[in-house]
């Protein structure tokens, strides 16, 4: 079963003359353990596609299934639970809670919705931080971390609940070349190592070779898929 199936998904902002079609009858399937790179110019609808796939935004029409479950008809509470349990997000900018340490930023996703932070959760957080090269930084607040380290913590948080789908928005936009490469190496390693599906939105050419497949979006329309053009590491 595919990790993500989007069928005839349309998202329109505004009304009447002010209408903007952000997604124009998009069809997209992402298989389990597939790493998809979504490219396109600014304003082409990439982030909208990501947010629809992650239940942050409801499409105007069409069907979105994650793990075979239709998510377009979830109410707000169900959508929040879905995001917590089924999706790992890495947002474009630095995205950590500033008053929580790196370890706590990973653990916080286990806190809400009635779950508990038990010994297993702490062990998993420490293990993830180790894998991300942040073993000694668990007790640091975000303000004590570099940009690359913060992005790695965000990747760790996205993987903390072992979601079947990871959605990553412009992971390298705020990083220099070296840090960007490190983060993408790490991201690919973690995602492929866990066998989960991922969509990585980017307009950074350096990222293109890290995916299994690459699709392009222009004016809300997906162009034909293309195989990845480069290999990594």
């Amino acid at each position: 079963m595919p990790a993500l199936e989007m069928s005839q998904v349309r998202k329109v902002y505004g009304a009447d003359d002010q209408q903007v079609v952000a997604l124009n009858d998009v069809d997209l399937t992402v298989d389990d353990d597939e790493m998809l790179i979504l490219v396109g110019p600014s304003g082409s609808g990439k982030t909208t596609l990501l947010t629809v796939a992650g239940a942050l935004l409801r499409p105007t029409s069409g069907s979105v299934k994650v793990g075979g479950v239709e998510i377009t008809d979830l109410d707000d509470k169900e959508a929040a639970r879905f995001r917590r349990d089924q999706v790992g997000f890495v947002f474009q900018s630095v995205n950590l809670v500033p008053f929580l340490t790196a370890r706590e930023n990973l653990l916080v996703v286990r806190q809400f919705g009635g779950s508990k932070i038990d010994g297993a959760a702490k062990k998993r957080a420490d293990q993830l931080l180790d894998e991300l090269g942040l073993g000694g930084r668990g007790d640091n607040l975000p303000s004590q971390l570099s940009g690359g380290q913060k992005q790695r913590v965000a990747i760790g948080r996205a993987l903390m609940n072992e979601p079947p789908l990871v959605l990553v928005d412009e992971p390298t936009s705020a990083l220099d070349s070296e840090l960007g490469k490190q983060v993408m190496d790490l991201l690919r390693s973690e995602i492929k190592g866990r066998g989960v599906a991922a969509i990585i939105v980017t307009h950074d050419d350096r990222v293109l070779g890290y995916g299994d497949r690459q699709v392009q979006m222009v004016d809300g329309v997906l162009s034909s898929a293309a195989p990845a053009t480069a290999t990594t590491t």
Binding site: T47, L50, T51, L56, L57, D76, K77, A80, R81, F82, R83, R84, D85, V87, F89, F91, Q92, S93, V94, N95, L96, V97, P98, F99, L100, E104, L107, V108, V109, Q111, F112, G113, I117, L141, R157, D169
Partner: protein
């Protein structure tokens, strides 16, 4: 809860400051309440703690005991009225007395110690049984006079044989004596054997009778008197209403300040951490969880402030006990603290509304987080 307590821990300074601000307001509130309680108790305690169900005034006194004089025939008329079980004259007058060589103002209350002229309950010792004995009750502003001490008034030595709590008149040391001793002290002060009339009559109604109805019936049936049931007589005492009203205005102002301080603090805090809240909502935290987190912080901060304020006030009142003897009333304190906590929660409605308005989509906007 995890996020709420972690944030408090990491921003201990600002949360402590708010708790201290709330504590300061609680100190002011409880201190005012204690002082007001002592003031009103010193004014009303004599009537409030009386064993009389109904009090009878001269109608011309307009319910002011200091201006009231009851003619002798009225005592008989009241005694013979329906539903009246017992009547006692109550003589009230302020004298200059001495105790341990010090001059003091003393309120004498003369009456029948076995009738409705004395406090319903005594704290220690016994009621006076004859001439030269007195039951003492002080306001919080007096040095206490203890059992065995002697108070001399107009050449009469009164040995204190018992004490009662909160049964003073006019914020003065108050001595309950027999009506005969009261008459003697009044005549000694006048220098001639004047006729001494009681200021009030204390009435006990028969079992099952309604004091308010008996008071109404006495007022209607006997010319020249006005009778009130005891709680109404307490409320009608001159100055009590004004004092209570003035302090009530202060209480309301303090409650408003608590609400504003708490509400503004948490609103500012919510605005400052808007990005963190957007992120939490985006990664799957329900709005209920985020709101709960805010309310837990309000409870902790306001609750801690209330506890600190109560403890400090209790300590301050203990230290100043010799000055005006005010103390915290547990019921009033509990209600005030509960009101402050509830107000704090209500005041956080602005912060809660802001949390509920968060759109997790903002997490995807560049620079939003």
């Amino acid at each position: 809860m995890y996020v709420a307590f972690k944030e408090i821990r990491r921003s201990l300074g600002r949360f402590t400051l708010l708790s201290l601000a709330v504590a300061l307001l609680v100190i002011l509130l409880l201190f005012f309440q204690a002082v007001a309680g002592t003031l009103t108790s010193g004014l009303t305690g004599g009537l409030e703690s009386s064993s009389a169900d109904v009090l009878v005034y001269d109608v011309r006194a307009r319910l002011n005991p200091a201006n009231s004089l009851i003619p002798a025939p009225v005592i008989t008329q009241v005694s013979e009225s329906p539903d009246v079980a017992a009547v006692s004259p109550i003589g009230l007058s302020v004298f200059t007395g001495t105790t341990d060589g010090d001059e003091i103002d003393v309120q004498l209350v003369g009456g029948d110690p076995t009738g409705p002229s004395v406090p319903a309950e005594i704290a220690d010792g016994r009621l006076p049984q004859g001439p030269g004995e007195g039951l003492f009750s002080g306001s919080g502003f007096d040095n206490p006079i203890e059992i065995g001490q002697t108070v001399s008034v107009e050449g009469i030595d009164f040995e204190v044989v018992g004490t009662a709590d909160d049964a003073a008149f006019n914020l003065l040391p108050t001595l309950y004596v027999t009506f005969e001793d009261f008459t003697s002290a009044s005549q000694n002060r006048a220098g001639i054997p004047i006729e001494v009339a009681p200021s009030l009559l204390g009435v006990i109604v028969v079992d099952g009778a309604d004091p308010a109805e008996v008071a109404e019936q006495l007022t209607q049936s006997i010319v020249g008197i006005e009778a009130l049931e005891r709680p109404a007589a307490v409320d009608a005492l001159p100055g009590v209403g004004q004092i209570t009203q003035s302090f009530n205005i202060l209480y309301v102002l303090l409650y408003i300040v608590v609400a504003i301080v708490t509400g503004v603090f948490f609103l500012i805090l919510t605005v400052q951490k808007q990005d963190a809240l957007v992120l939490l909502r985006a990664i799957g935290t329900g709005s209920r969880d985020v709101v709960t987190s805010v309310l837990i912080q309000v409870l902790v901060v306001v609750g801690a402030g209330a506890v600190i304020g109560t403890v400090v006030t209790a300590g301050l009142l203990q230290l100043t006990r010799d000055v005006f003897g005010a103390s915290l009333d547990s019921t009033t304190t509990t209600l005030s603290v509960a009101a402050i906590v509830v107000l704090g929660l209500l005041a956080s409605v602005g912060a809660v509304r802001r949390v509920l308005a968060i759109d997790p989509m903002q997490a995807t906007r560049s620079g939003a987080i």
